[in-house]
Symmetry: C2
Subunit: 588 residues, 2 copies
């Protein structure tokens, strides 16, 4: 029905007749002529209707915005004065010779000239997706998945599908459940990831697996989360963590080069402990030059309990952020930052303005608690200069990391310190376990392998064990993470014991994985990338909802299809379930 896309008409077509299909993006009547900007997925081209061509002109006269038409016209070069450098097709225009209206359009339900509410945008998503900024993101997403697949195909990875209707997986978030009709009273779970299946595929010998796959978590959606999201899921056999990291780093580097012409270079690697110490985060944004500087050793003896308490507590921490030029902050602004760190549990924010190089020239409500020598050492260690401010966090390690880590990001933005560039990073050497309810919990998942210990050593000193895990971070966003998995039964049993998982519970939950470890399970390792987050970062979108064609609202509903909705009572009877709440159709 067409010979070329609107957005691809160019000087090569001049004096040719071309046929286009598309939508009326704009109509203008000028000097007796009708000008129509015709739009399709590749762009926009200008069409001119001349009243001399009476029949076609008459049809054109009925055109309104968003009418869908088929149009034939003669391409001509625009006169120099009318060339539009802003448009890809700005050097040409069409003189229409034929016009068929394929479909009329009512005035759009979404106003293109003003911000629409998210509810409206999602209800009329098919119109929202006509906006070039949105369609460009969806098109870009398709390019990304295509490039990722080609890379993985070319590197011997096999695309293998794993089930969506399955058993609960070990990720620990809330599962979506699906009632079974043939086994009444029982439920499938939608997978939070294909973790166990991909490990089983390694035990089958597939060696290199990948899948771009939907995963599901029934979580509260306060943050930028979606009930279903997409992972680039990867697993390999006989590769070390260094090899997995090198291969997936190459994939991401190729992707950025190919689609954004950005060279990410070699990714540096940083231990978790260093990331927490310097940046208060396990996904530091290295574009931000601010750092946390530890000063507890200087403050053990001071009178000020807020400092000396944590400084003398083995689980306490005192850290400083030096903000260049921060002495200009008003009392009120500092108070605002105090409130901000309060969100993360900090009880206050001590500060010290540097008014000169000498220790005596500081301005600070806490200066009276500190002697000149300590102040001098603080200034020396933080390399503070005239006009800077030091902001102090003192509490237990977790609160200091979270509060000062968040403050660092906020200060970076407020002081416009964040470079406009790409800063990738591997974070490695995570602890195996963290404290949780008086016991230990796995930081990754219970199948993550420790580094360099025997099962006995792991059990003897779990708190100090490091895992063979790695997270890829880009500009402060965790793009993906993975680990070497345990492939040895004795090690797996030790890990379960550390986690307080009884043999019986382990059998019940992961029996098939434990079984599988008996039969020559190979060493294996893998990684999963969050595709939505990756696309968001690459397109500069501010929400993952803007890079998904049909996302849900923050209450996990779809205003377009009205999902979820009231089910047919007969269907529920067949499933053998009843709802305790009577839902009304207009609730959603």
């Amino acid at each position: 029905m067409r010979t070329v896309y609107c957005g691809q008409v160019n000087l090569e077509h001049v004096e040719q007749s071309v046929t286009l299909c598309g939508w009326v993006n704009k109509r203008r009547d000028l000097g007796g002529l009708i000008f129509v900007d015709l739009r399709d997925r590749e762009g926009i081209v200008q069409v001119v209707f001349d009243p001399d061509n009476k029949d076609v002109f008459e049809v054109a006269n009925s055109l309104r915005n968003e009418y869908c038409v088929q149009l034939t016209g003669q391409v001509r070069a625009r006169p120099e004065s009318q060339i539009n450098k802003q448009m890809a097709t700005g050097e040409v225009e069409l003189i229409a010779t034929e016009l068929t209206i394929l479909n009329a359009s009512a005035p759009l339900a979404l106003d293109s000239n003003q911000e629409n509410s998210e509810e409206q945008r999602l209800k009329y998503r098919y119109l929202d997706l006509r906006r070039p900024v949105m369609s460009d993101r969806i098109k870009f997403r398709s390019k990304v998945t295509s490039a990722v697949r080609r890379f993985l195909d070319d590197n011997g990875f096999l695309d293998i599908e794993t089930p969506i209707l399955t058993a609960a997986t070990p990720e620990g978030a809330r599962d979506y459940l699906v009632p079974s009709r043939t086994h009444k009273g029982k439920f499938f779970a939608l997978p939070q990831s294909p973790q166990l299946f991909k490990q089983l595929l390694m035990m089958s010998g597939f060696d290199r697996y990948y899948q771009i796959v939907k995963c599901f978590r029934d979580e509260d959606l306060r943050a930028d989360r979606q009930p279903e999201f997409t992972q680039i899921d990867i697993e390999t056999s006989f590769m070390t963590s260094a090899e997995v990291m090198a291969k997936t780093e190459e994939m991401i580097r190729d992707l950025f080069k190919q689609l954004l012409d950005v060279d990410l270079g070699q990714f540096p690697s940083m231990p978790y402990s260093e990331a927490m110490r310097r940046f208060g985060s396990d996904k530091p944004d290295l574009r931000n030059p601010l750092e946390l500087v530890d000063v507890a050793d200087l403050l053990k003896e001071v009178e000020f309990k807020v400092f000396s308490g944590p400084a003398n507590d083995p689980e306490g921490r005192v850290a400083v952020i030096r903000v260049p030029g921060g002495a200009s902050l008003s009392r009120k602004q500092i108070d605002e930052y105090g409130k901000y760190v309060g969100i993360y549990g900090a009880k206050g924010l001590a500060w010290m303005k540097i008014n000169g190089a000498a220790a005596g020239d500081v301005q600070s409500p806490i200066a009276k608690f500190l002697n000149e020598d300590i102040i001098a050492q603080l200034i020396a260690r933080t390399e503070a200069a005239d006009g800077d401010i030091l902001l102090f966090g003192a509490d237990n390690e977790t609160v200091v990391a979270e509060a000062m880590g968040a403050l660092r990001l906020k200060l970076g933005e407020d002081f416009e310190l964040v470079e406009d560039c790409w800063k990738p990073l591997w974070v490695v050497d995570f602890p195996m376990f963290e404290k949780h309810d008086g016991g230990l919990a796995a930081i990754h998942h219970p199948f993550t392998a420790p580094v360099g210990v025997t099962p006995e050593q792991l059990e003897a000193d779990p708190a100090n064990a490091l895992s063979d895990a790695y997270d890829m971070v880009l500009n402060g966003v965790e793009l993906g993470g993975g680990s070497v998995r345990i492939h040895d039964q004795a090690m797996q049993a030790a890990a379960f014991r550390v986690l307080g998982i009884s043999d019986e519970e382990a059998r019940e939950k992961f029996g098939f994985l434990l079984d599988a470890l008996q039969f020559g399970a190979p060493p294996h390792a893998g990684l999963a990338f969050g595709l939505d987050r990756l696309i968001m970062l690459m397109t500069g979108a501010t929400s993952i909802r803007d890079v998904m064609a049909f996302p849900k609202t923050t209450t996990a509903a779809c205003p377009l299809t009205d999902a979820p909705s009231v089910a047919n009572p007969a269907a529920l009877a067949e499933l053998g379930i009843t709802t305790q709440v009577e839902a009304k159709e207009d609730d959603a």
Copy 2:
């Protein structure tokens, strides 16, 4: 950890040292040496352990089947006499210089020398998938999806993801339901296809969409069906049915050429009515030369009511299959075929053996009802020859088509008439509607466009309307089907009225689609292929379960993960649902 795959060691590696990782496929001790066939996903290579290398030999001596090892060895060419032409690596072998056992293996839970029950195979699927016949299929599947994606990418199709948690779709099978926690009492449905979403994407202007996507149907699984299956889902704007067919035919032709080196040639096209008439099926297997021959016109006046009844009924049909050489069938064999057609509702199977060219030389229990002239005409029309048999079906059209269509397939197999080749076919010109419960039902779905009628004409004579739909059939298997969709509101309203769907019901079920049609919806058309079925056909597997990594049993359960299973009562409470049946863990 390795330098080359086992299956890829060849003469080029001779005198090199290579490192392999894999599994002990077989161990033989012979003449003081140990021979190990080492297997990985690419194949098998022979490794020799010499007792002179004492340390390595000792480790080798502990090897059992399915041990996972890392091994370094010197590659050497086998002496002429020991070359194994059956093996890809049969010209070489390795002399082991280093050996590390990565993991031991218990004796396998699946016996490789005997048939295992499907239950056992699925419970130990990760072992079942080690069998080369199974792993080859899964690897082949990955090649197919990769080739399909490349074709579609290269043809400007965009890979766009649609939701899995959504509203009921219009396919009409039973939906899987997912209770919503944030909207208690309401349910998502898992999609039976992305039909409506892909149509909406056309309305957004994406022009060419594809997705290789999971679909879900909660059906009884008697036939070779699975609760979740995979579609190659395609939709286009501004393409006619002929264009969609040409493009997707090219895709399948390329796929067969590329992966099987099979040239499928141009696909012929056949109207639905012809397919039903000649083959009693809308997906005829053209490798089978048998055909149904209509003879009702010859039998209107005969005394035999079994024939004359249907022959005079406008909805009746009398059809004959001539089986070359079929006169050799015994009475008992014919009775068996009579029982077989009974499954499809036929009340009996009349027959006539041809013992000579003359009409008098027939042998048949019904010959007495037919005069010589009629017998002669039957013989002439069916081109029956000496030694053939004619088998008669007489009933209403549906029963004759189903029973004789099935009989045709069975006879084709029994008489070994089915050619070993590939016979693709497009079936087109389907009726829009079929009779159903006294009204009309859509043969495809209610969004399928009719051919060459106005909305008024469609409503005036729906029974004779043909749809702009097309099914791709290969060797009697429906590979895919699709249609041009209605993009005009008036036509859609007419189609709903024909189907007896009230405006209110249409609004409630498909309101968002009807809304979308108002805003310049483009002409659009699409198609979906069943990926599992396609792979089954291409690999020669006899069940779709054998081309899926982790299929379910025929009762929709997974013996590997024990899904579905009893849910945590707290989780059900959060969802606001209760089960009427108390399920026991060991029920599944």
